[in-house]
């Protein structure tokens, strides 16, 4: 019998007559090619089953290992050591949840170094791809592979963007023993989950600052990567391994004109939304938009909702508050976070602050971050680009003008500033419009910062 990796699956040909492969884990008969087939992720279990069954088979070639001598020593802080031990105890499978700035990438590097396995690291964006390549290059002197941003280069240690891995796992799936997933909360919801099902890697490490609380997603993630084996929140590390921070909420008013416009838009939206709530008390926001798009009244309500959001994104009071904060902190490194790119550009034009958005090319973004590090730029404004993973050292003031994605986004944003340095104290301003939908949004997003959860083993 022969095992072959075939585009994200394992094909078993010429099985012995006395072996019932229908019993083997994950194996199905594929009438299209007249052979048995299993998802590549079932390979470790399948191999164990075949060995137990004493079936002779020609195995797939072993992945090429990295050269251990080319690694430098990776030192860890005590909580990182504890997290790595928890993962080892979990049979090298599982999710580690640590706040932004607490050194998740370093933990991943230690996992690669200590296990000596060939490893594929998946990261959500091209910006993070570069960041990981830099960090791994500082500790591993051998070649490092890269999939993403137009590059397709394999090595026993490879970094790939989620998108590129999804497209190329049919060729990469048999080349790694360890898969590390940065910002692992992007998986488990169905989108691109196949990436993790099409690889034979038995060892799997997921990293996140914002673990999912959805039971369905958690269960699926446990299947794909493993259960959460270690978790610390910002509150566990602030003041020690993370910088201390003050959170200041500035409650702002709308101008009379803005209030009038807001009230009429809110009335349009609220009546349609209340009607929907009566029909479907447990309906989600997606259900509501789906339902509303069918009728002219519903579409008007959705349009009103968008206009409300646009109105609140950068109100007159927010403009004035931001202006005075920028003057007050003109000698600090400031990050401004907005709900959308439109507001980011408005702020950029008004206050001559460099915007960092998805529209700005990668080389320019790199250049901007470099200038920010050196102090040639002191303030950046961004809607989403700074949300996740990007290492921006030494910022000490954040101004949250608006947000669209709730608790997870807020934790990631605040995390940008918490990388520790001597005597550093961070100030986070939130600009919130009184008597508007922003009040509830602000309350909900702050919960992610204060919830304290114990480490679990």
């Amino acid at each position: 019998m022969r095992l072959q990796f075939d585009r994200g699956t394992i094909v078993l040909t010429d099985p012995p007559k006395d072996l019932d492969l229908a019993e083997a884990p994950g194996v199905l008969w594929d009438p299209r090619v007249q052979a048995y087939r299993a998802p590549a992720s079932k390979y470790p279990a399948l191999k164990r089953w075949l060995l137990r069954s004493r079936a002779g088979f020609q195995d797939i070639p072993e992945p090429v290992s990295p050269t251990q001598e080319l690694w430098s020593e990776v030192d860890l802080r005590p909580y990182q050591e504890a997290a790595l031990s928890a993962w080892e105890l979990g049979q090298r499978r599982g999710v580690v949840a640590l706040p932004t700035g607490s050194g998740k990438t370093r933990l991943a590097l230690a996992a690669m170094h200590r296990t000596r396995l060939s490893a594929l690291c998946l990261v959500p964006t091209r910006v993070l791809l570069d960041q990981w390549l830099r960090e791994i290059g500082a500790l591993y002197r051998g070649p490092v592979g890269c999939y993403g941003d137009g590059v397709r280069q394999w090595a026993p240690l490879t970094i790939a963007t989620f998108e590129s891995a999804y497209r190329h796992m049919d060729q990469l799936g048999d080349r790694f023993e360890l898969v590390i997933v940065d910002e692992v909360h992007h998986f488990g919801g169905g989108l691109r989950d196949e990436t993790l099902e099409m690889t034979i890697a038995d060892a799997r490490l997921g990293l996140t600052a914002t673990p999912t609380r959805d039971p369905g997603v958690t269960a699926r993630l446990a299947e794909l990567v493993g259960a959460t084996v270690f978790e610390l929140a910002i509150a566990d590390l602030a003041g020690g391994f993370l910088a201390s921070f003050d959170s200041i909420t500035l409650n702002l008013d709308l101008t009379p004109e803005e209030r009038r416009a807001y009230t009429s838009l809110a009335a349009l939206f609220t009546s349609a939304h209340a009607e929907f709530r009566q029909l479907a008390p447990d309906g989600s926001w997606a259900d509501f938009t789906h339902h509303a798009a069918r009728t002219p009244e519903g579409r008007r309500a959705l349009s009103a909702w968008r206009q409300m959001r646009r109105l609140l994104a950068f109100t007159h009071a927010k403009r004035r508050a931001l202006e005075s904060l920028l003057v007050r902190h003109r000698h600090s490194r400031v990050l401004i976070f907005t709900a959308d790119n439109e507001t980011a550009y408005a702020i950029a034009r008004e206050h001559l602050v460099m915007p960092l958005t998805c529209d700005i090319s990668r080389p320019e973004r790199d250049d901007v971050l470099e200038r920010f590090r050196h102090g040639d730029l002191r303030t950046l404004v961004s809607a989403r680009v700074l949300n996740e993973g990007l290492d921006v050292p030494d910022a000490d003031v954040a101004v949250v003008v608006g947000g669209a994605l709730g608790e997870r986004e807020h934790v990631q944003r605040v995390g940008r500033l918490l990388r520790p340095s001597d005597g550093k104290r961070v100030t986070v301003y939130e600009l919130v419009t009184r008597n508007s939908i922003e009040v509830g949004q602000a309350r909900r997003r702050r919960q992610g910062l204060v919830v304290r959860r114990s480490a679990q083993l």
Partner: protein, 387 residues
């Protein structure tokens, strides 16, 4: 394409796409005229205009689809006195350095770059998508073409949600199968049905385990190729909002075609066909004759040559060119397995094929650089046809 742009109705287990047709041409023309009006103006102005309804009746979902399709085709250009990246580096760098008011900073930078204040402000974000200028398309787009392109987008959007596609097809099968294999799909050949010269079932390896969108794009790419098949019937199993529905397409559906597939795979084949036609006016050269079914796959002979006045004198001709040894071995094994009578194999001398590898009964003509059309003619004129 997002699901809310896919316009279809459900009839039992069928998903029936709402194609744009002649009745949509009037509002599509208005849309194209609106676009024309904005040539030379920033894209964001056009986008803002298109958020409001057109001055004529237009189905909202189809309109949004047409706007998106048009947006993909719409070229844009950038005009700026200073390269925007340079303008940003100077302006924001200067702003970080001084505490002067914004206008003063802009004036200083404009003077240092030798441009006016307005030009500097216009240049600052001139490269961003919304600020780029709407440009005239390279070739004028008609309402008819836009409708066909929208239909293609709808069908591809639906196939993006497909897990398996079955196509009964007559002619041009080779292009379909080749494309599918190149995109990593499994092509299983089914029983022929009716007059179809082939029935192929296309799906990805992983589709065995669950509904996946992994192969949706590859499956969608087959649609414009189908337009070049004289006859086809497609059935795709799709999943919409967790519900399994079947999409059916067939010859004559109003879908934008791909560019015409190449008639010949190589100059070698093209030269042979031309030379043979010149030498043998009594014979027809048929490019891509009907495929031969062989253990779950199809063989596509390069040519059939058939006598004009006696169709029973028909030979299949395969040119075995300079492909990889594996490919040649697989091809010869397939021919051996199906025992085709009246087969001529033209084999590149450089391939060094052993006699034992060749299918029994096949006439073999070795060639170097060019297939000798006269040699082929000699074989078919002097050998009785066994079919």
């Amino acid at each position: 394409m997002s699901a809310d742009l896919l316009s279809y109705s459900v009839a039992g287990t069928l998903a029936v796409p709402h194609f744009l047709g002649e009745h949509d041409h009037p509002w599509l023309r208005v849309l194209l005229e609106e676009h024309e009006r904005f040539i030379g103006r920033p894209q964001r102005e056009l986008e803002a205009r298109l958020r409001d309804p057109l001055p004529c009746e237009s189905p909202p979902r189809k309109l949004r689809l047409a706007i998106q399709v048009l947006g993909r085709l719409r070229p844009s250009e950038r005009k700026s006195a200073v390269p925007p990246r340079r303008a940003r580096a100077h302006v924001f760098g200067e702003a970080a350095r001084t505490s002067a008011p914004s206008q003063a900073i802009l004036s200083t930078v404009a003077a240092s770059l030798g441009v006016s204040l307005e030009d500097l402000q216009d240049s600052l974000f001139a490269d961003l998508p919304g600020e780029r200028l709407v440009a005239a398309p390279a070739q004028p787009l008609s309402a008819v073409e836009l409708a066909l392109r929208c239909n293609l987008a709808v069908v591809q959007g639906m196939l993006f949600r497909a897990t398996i596609v079955r196509i009964e097809v007559e002619g041009n099968t080779r292009v379909l199968v080749r494309h599918a294999k190149w995109r990593g799909l499994i092509c299983a050949v089914g029983e022929r049905s009716g007059s179809a010269s082939a029935t192929v079932e296309l799906s990805g390896p992983f589709a065995l385990f669950r509904n996946t969108r992994l192969y949706g794009r590859a499956l969608g790419e087959l649609v414009p190729l189908l337009a070049w098949c004289p006859r086809f019937r497609l059935r795709a199993e799709c999943v919409f909002h967790g519900r399994r529905l079947t999409l059916q397409l067939e010859t004559g559906d109003p879908i934008f075609p791909s560019t015409a597939p190449r008639r010949y795979d190589s100059l070698l084949e093209e030269h042979f066909a031309r030379e043979f036609r010149r030498l043998a006016p009594a014979w027809d050269v048929i490019r891509e004759p009907e495929p031969i079914a062989a253990t779950g796959t199809l063989i596509f002979p390069d040519f059939a040559v058939q006598h004009r006045s006696d169709p029973t004198r028909r030979w299949l001709l395969e040119i075995v060119g300079f492909w990889t040894p594996d490919y040649v071995a697989r091809k010869l094994a397939l021919y051996r397995s199906v025992h085709v009578s009246s087969l001529i194999l033209c084999i590149d001398e450089g391939r060094n094929c052993a006699e034992a590898d060749l299918p029994s009964g096949a006439r073999v003509i070795r060639y170097r650089r060019r297939v000798d059309a006269a040699a082929v003619l000699r074989v078919i004129e002097t050998t009785p046809c066994s079919s």
